[in-house]
């Protein structure tokens, strides 16, 4: 049972790391926004994993509820971010928001 938890947690940590890399190292706005989504989803997956396998099983619905709400707010944030990206693209004809990054 704990093998399942460890596996899911490792996957979620890896997802978090990929997202953090995209946020820190990419210069395209869209890739950075997708990176933040990866990070949110990693947190949600960790919640669900704890709710399914870990101590969280006593309050499994609560853990799953956090994951659902976190996912919803993440998408709301993405929507605002993409709107801003569209504004920048309209004026700048580029999705790079920082010229000194590669």
């Amino acid at each position: 049972m704990n093998a399942g938890l460890n596996l899911v947690l490792a996957a979620s940590a890896a997802l978090f790391a990929v997202g953090a890399f995209a946020v820190v190292a990419r210069r395209s706005v869209v890739l950075m926004l997708i990176g933040t989504q990866f990070m949110f989803m990693a947190g949600s997956i960790a919640f669900v994993a704890f709710a399914r396998f870990g101590f969280g099983a006593v309050n499994a619905t609560a853990g799953a509820a956090v994951a659902i709400f976190a996912g919803a707010t993440a998408v709301a944030e993405l929507a605002v971010g993409l709107a801003m990206a569209a504004l920048i693209y309209r004026e700048h004809r580029s999705l790079a928001i920082d010229a000194d990054r590669g």
Binding site: M32, L33, T36, A62, V66, F69, V80, L87, E91
Partner: protein, 477 residues
């Protein structure tokens, strides 16, 4: 017993929501109408509704929200910051900004999120409230000013903010995994049963602190504050640096007092370490800046370090000291930014060298600016002094006398660094002639109100400290 009652305790928040809806409808139907007035009315109504709920703890939605003394003290600070920001707003609107009639509506929604976050006592409600605040701040940052620089800065703010929200979410997930509880109080009880020096608890605490650090104003990350302060209009920065920072510390205080207080990890040492780095680094960065707004944003890092120092004594004086300090911090930042907004209106610049001649061109403004800066440094007899003294006392009580020594050294350093501004404003001859212009009445009111608050907070320290102790008692049960 499951109860969904007590929804009426949301009446302050409902006033804000109603005000925001009215503003959005009015902005759509009658462009150019004064939506700021509607927003101020809604904020005053929310304050009156809140005033009927003093002196009682109300559990809302089965413990998802806890309207206790702590939340009420924080709510009052946030409402005041929102009103003052609104009053100062008109002076910061440039001709190119167009009709941004709906901006006060988003400010109301951000205030709503902030008030909910102050009383949230459960992970879902806490995260949702913080996101409501954050997303509206992103929208405010992009709506309040036209242009590529502003949009880019707002997007950078959004990406950095989203990444820190994700850090916070992961930290909360670890707390949930360790304790099986999403309620902050219950998770604290379960946390106390864990063994000492559990590395996962330490990791969870670090993630939560890291996730809130940006909102506390602690992080000099890539766009925050560097790009943010350059592109985002001052009235938004004013709100972020007052209400936003206060809320971040309030949320962290609730987490520290209910969830992490029972855990047996060296949390005070972590807080002390981060506090030293933040207050020293922030002051060093601040004195090197050439623009006033940039200096103020970097100085906020140092202020955040001081606020964090109060957490070394969470169970003792710490939370009362934190609340008094947060009030003084909000007042100081509101005053300083309001003065910068008003003076930038006169000279169209926020460079430090252009402060020269301020005392001749606008004596009242120069006085207000001086009061705010002295308060931010922490010199007697104004507000900041009392906040800093209490925080340093808390650090000593918590067994971190060396932290208090570093704090005093930082105050002395900041005094020499920031009082340079006042020398330029009051002594140096003006570089150019400042054309006298009539300032908007709103910004005049803001500057005057905040200055009175900063100067006389010392006189009101008794009631303020009583309120802070009341808030602290609510948090520690």
């Amino acid at each position: 017993m499951r109860t969904f009652g007590n929804l009426l305790a949301f009446s302050p928040e409902l006033w804000l929501l109603a005000g925001a809806i009215v503003i959005f409808v009015v902005a759509r139907l009658r462009p150019g109408a004064s939506t700021t007035t509607v927003a101020v009315v809604a904020l005053v109504a929310a304050f009156l509704a809140l005033a009927t709920q003093f002196k009682q703890t109300i559990t809302i939605l089965d413990g998802a929200f806890l309207l206790d003394g702590f939340a009420i003290v924080i709510d009052v600070v946030v409402l005041a910051a929102a009103v003052l920001t609104l009053l100062a707003s008109r002076a910061d609107i440039l001709p190119g900004d167009g009709h941004a009639d709906s901006v006060p509506g988003f400010l109301l929604l951000a205030t709503l999120g902030a008030m909910l976050a102050a009383s949230a006592a459960e992970m879902v409600s806490l995260f949702l409230a913080l996101e409501l605040l954050a997303i509206n701040l992103y929208v405010l940052a992009v709506l309040a000013r036209r242009g590529l620089a502003a949009t880019t800065a707002a997007l950078g703010y959004l990406v950095a903010g989203a990444a820190s929200s994700a850090l916070l979410l992961y930290g909360l997930a670890l707390v949930f995994g360790l304790t099986g509880e999403t309620r902050l109080g219950a998770s604290g009880t379960a946390m106390a049963a864990l063994g000492p020096n559990n590395p996962v608890v330490l990791l969870a605490l670090s993630l939560v602190l890291g996730g809130l650090a940006l909102r506390m104003g602690l992080l000099p990350v890539r766009w925050w504050p560097r790009g943010f302060e350059a592109g985002v209009p001052l009235r938004v920065i004013m709100f972020v640096q007052s209400a936003g920072a206060v809320i971040a510390f309030a949320v962290f205080a609730r987490l520290a007092a209910s969830t992490f207080a029972g855990s047996r990890i060296p949390s005070a040492a972590v807080f002390a370490g981060v506090a030293v780095v933040a207050m020293t680094g922030g002051n060093l960065l601040a004195v090197m800046q050439a623009s006033v707004r940039r200096l103020l944003v970097y100085a906020a890092i140092a202020q955040g370090g001081f606020a964090l120092a109060a957490f070394t004594d969470v169970k003792g004086l710490g939370l009362s000291a934190l609340l008094v300090f947060l009030v003084s911090l909000a007042l100081g930042n509101l005053g300083a930014f309001a003065a910068v907004i008003a003076y930038a209106r006169l000279v169209h610049s926020d460079a430090i060298k252009d402060l020269a001649g301020m005392s001749r061109a606008a004596p009242g403004l120069a006085f207000a600016f001086a009061v705010a800066v002295v308060s931010l440094v922490g010199l007697p007899p104004v507000a900041g002094f009392f906040g800093k003294v209490l925080v340093l006392q808390a650090a000593v009580n918590g067994g971190y006398a060396w932290l208090a020594v570093v704090g005093v050294a930082n105050i002395v350093f900041a005094a020499f660094g920031y009082l340079r501004l006042l020398k330029i404003a009051f002594v140096d001859p003006p570089i150019f002639e400042v054309a006298p212009a009539r300032l908007d009445r709103g910004i005049q009111a803001t500057v005057a109100l905040v200055s009175v608050g900063v100067v006389f907070m010392g006189l009101l320290l008794g009631p303020l400290y009583a309120a802070a102790s009341y808030g602290r008692a609510a948090l520690l049960h």
